[in-house]
Symmetry: C2
Subunit: 352 residues, 2 copies
C-alpha cells in the first residue's frame, strides 16, 4: 500500500459551483451521497433515516397496520398555501387518517429532472420536513432518481405512509346506512383553484390559497366514544367531493342527498370556478374531510370538528338516503335537484 | 326522483377505442376507475387491494418491521430479462432482503405519460404481478397519476415494501470485521449492460439478459444457524459492486481487498463493457448479492449459495482487511493492485 492510498483518494474540487440537479445526482455515486447528506438528511434527519440502510427498521405494535401510497405530480411545484413537498406529506397522511389510522412513518422517493435548481428543491424538501414534523411522523427511508431534462417536470415525489390502526375508529366506504348524516369539515375547492389560478396566472391568484393540511388532528377529535358512530370518511382530493360521495354511495348501496346551501365556497374560489367554467363539486380539496356519522351523534361530531381551526366552517351538508341508490343528488339553492355524477375524465389534470 | 335517476346515468359508448393512456386516466373519475378495474386489479387483484380503500390494512406481527422505497425510471421500460414492472418488485424486495427481512407487502404507484399504449402498460403490469406472485408478496395498495406527453418517459413506478425482520439474520453495513470473507453470488454487470445494449441497439443486445431477480430465496438459505455469521449484505445496483463495497468499507471502518480472478463476467457483458468503455465493477446488478461472512462459516455459506440456481456461480471474491481503511483495493489478474474508488457521478443514467 502506498501512502496515497492510506490517506484516501483525492477528489478534485469542482471548478464551478453546482446549483442545479445533474444526472450524476442519481448515480448512486459520490454526487448522490452528497445530495443525500447536504440536502435530504439535513432536512429529514432522524436516527432511522440517517442509518442509510437499504430499508428502515421501525417498531410497530402487533396486529394490523395501515399502508397508503401516493405519487405527486402537481404543477406548479410551489403554489399559494404549499408546495409539492408538504402536499405529499398531507396527502398520504390524510389517506391513512381516513381509515382511522394514526400515521407514524413515511417514505419519500423523489424523481428529479436534470436542471432543477437546488434552491427550489431545497424549499420543497424543507417544506416537506416541516409538514412531517408538525404531523409528528418520521420520514424513515427514501430514494432519489434523476431523469434527463424534458423527462419530468421539475420533480415528482412519492410518499408511502404507515399507520397504526385505531382499535375503534374504523370507517369504511361501505358502512353507510340510510339516515346517516354527512358532515363536511370546511370550504370547497380551494386546493384545485389555487393550483389553477397559479398555473393560469389568473388575477385572483394571490387571494386563493390551497387548503393543503394534515387532517389527523381533526380525525383525532372523532376518536374514543364517538368512533363507533363514524361510518365512513374521505378526503375529497382528485375528482372533488362529488367523486368521493359517488364512491361511497356505490360502495354502501345508498343514495346521497347533498344540500348546496350548506356547502361553503369562498368568494374568490367561486369567482375562479366561474371564469374557468369549473364546478367546485369536482375540484380537489387537500385539507377537508367528508364524514358520514350515525344520526344520533352527528351534532356532537359537528361540534367537535368546529372546535378545531381546520373545522371552523364544518357543516351538515347532506344525508344518506334509501332512494336513488348509488347516486348523489344535489338540492340546489333554488330548490331544484340534479344528479351529481362522477366525471368520466379530468376537469383539472395534475392537481396533486 | 325521476325514473332516469333510478336507472342510473347513461354513459355514452366511446366512438373510438381508447388504446392509449389519456390525461383523464389520472383524474380520479370514471376513466381512472376503469383503468384500475380493467388493468391494475386484473393483474394485482387480491382481497386487500380490491377493497380500494384509502389505505390498505395488513396484519403484522408486533415488534419491528422493515420498510424500503424505490422509484424506477429505467429506460427502456422493457429489456431482455425483464421490464420496469418486475424490476420494481425485485429492487424493493431485494432491499428488504439485504436487511435480512422477509418481504410481505408492496405498494405500487405509477406515473404514466399521456399516450403510453395500453398494450405496453399491460405487459409491464402483468410482469410486475408475476414477479410479486413468485416472490409470495401481496401488492396491497397503489396509485396512478398521468402527466402530459413529454413530462415522463413512458412510465415511472414506485414500489414501497414492508417486511418482517428475521430474529437472527440482521446484517448491517457497519458490522464487518477484518478477516470477514466477501461472497459474491453471481456474475457481474448483467443488468446494466442489458439496458445499455438495448438502449444503444448494440449487436450483442440479444445475448445479454438482465440478471433482475428476487434474491429472497438466496437470503433464505443464510437464515437459521448461519445467520449470526452474516455480517453485511448488499445487492449492488446503481454504482455497481464497487460502490456497494466502498459504502461497507466506510461504514465498518475496514479495507476491502477484492480478487479480480474470482469475479465472473459473462463474455458478451465484458465485450459490451469494452465497446462502451465501462468498468463492470461500476455497472448495476439486479439479481446478485455481496455478503461479508465470518471466516469460519464462509465455506458453508458459499456452499449454500451455490445450491441455488441464482447462486450457482457464487465465489469467494475478497476479504475485509485492517489496512487501507475505507478503501476498496482490487488485486488484478496480473497481480497488480489498484484502488476502486466510488465514482463521482454516472457511468449509466436511468439504469433502474
Amino acid at each position: 500500500m502506498t501512502a496515497t492510498l492510506a490517506e484516501g483518494p483525492i477528489c478534485p474540487a469542482p471548478l464551478v459551483k453546482i446549483d442545479r440537479v445533474q444526472l450524476g445526482h442519481g448515480s448512486g455515486g459520490k454526487m448522490s451521497a452528497a445530495l443525500l447528506r447536504d440536502l435530504f438528511l439535513l432536512h429529514f434527519g432522524n436516527e432511522t433515516l440517517s442509518r442509510l440502510a437499504d430499508a428502515a427498521v421501525v417498531p410497530v405494535e402487533g396486529g394490523e397496520i395501515a399502508v397508503s401510497t401516493d405519487s405527486f405530480v402537481v404543477n406548479p411545484i410551489e403554489f399559494p398555501g404549499g408546495t409539492i413537498g408538504s402536499l405529499a406529506v398531507h396527502g398520504t397522511l390524510n389517506d391513512l387518517a381516513m381509515m382511522g389510522a394514526i400515521p407514524r412513518y413515511l417514505s419519500s422517493a423523489f424523481i428529479l429532472e436534470e436542471g432543477l435548481p437546488f434552491e427550489r428543491l431545497d424549499r420543497v424538501v424543507a417544506d416537506m420536513a416541516l409538514a412531517a414534523r408538525k404531523a409528528g411522523v418520521l420520514i424513515v427511508t427514501g430514494d432519489t432518481k434523476v431523469v434527463e431534462r424534458g423527462k419530468a417536470d421539475g420533480l415528482y415525489v412519492n410518499t408511502t405512509g404507515i399507520g397504526m390502526l385505531d382499535p375503534v375508529l374504523r370507517p369504511r366506504p361501505d358502512a353507510v346506512h340510510p339516515g346517516d348524516v354527512l358532515l363536511v369539515s370546511g370550504p370547497l375547492a380551494q386546493h384545485g383553484m389555487a393550483i389553477m389560478a397559479a398555473r393560469e396566472g389568473l388575477a385572483f391568484e394571490t387571494e386563493i390559497r390551497s387548503d393543503s393540511a394534515c387532517l389527523v388532528p381533526l380525525v383525532d377529535l372523532l376518536r374514543g366514544d364517538l368512533a363507533p358512530a363514524i361510518r365512513a370518511m374521505r378526503d375529497p382530493t382528485r375528482g372533488g367531493l362529488a367523486s368521493a360521495l359517488n364512491e361511497i354511495a356505490a360502495s354502501s348501496g345508498v343514495g346521497v342527498l347533498l344540500d348546496e346551501a350548506q356547502l361553503a365556497i369562498p368568494g374568490p374560489v367561486a369567482a375562479a370556478c366561474e371564469v374557468l367554467g369549473l364546478d367546485p363539486l369536482y375540484v380537489a380539496n387537500e385539507g377537508m374531510l367528508a364524514a358520514f356519522v350515525a344520526p344520533d351523534r352527528a351534532e356532537e361530531a359537528l361540534a367537535r370538528l368546529r372546535s378545531h381551526p381546520l373545522g371552523a366552517q364544518a357543516s351538515i351538508a347532506g344525508v344518506a338516503v334509501a332512494e336513488h341508490v348509488g347516486l348523489v343528488v344535489l338540492r340546489t339553492r333554488l330548490g331544484s335537484r340534479r344528479v351529481v355524477d362522477m366525471l368520466p375524465g379530468d376537469q383539472l389534470p395534475r392537481i396533486c
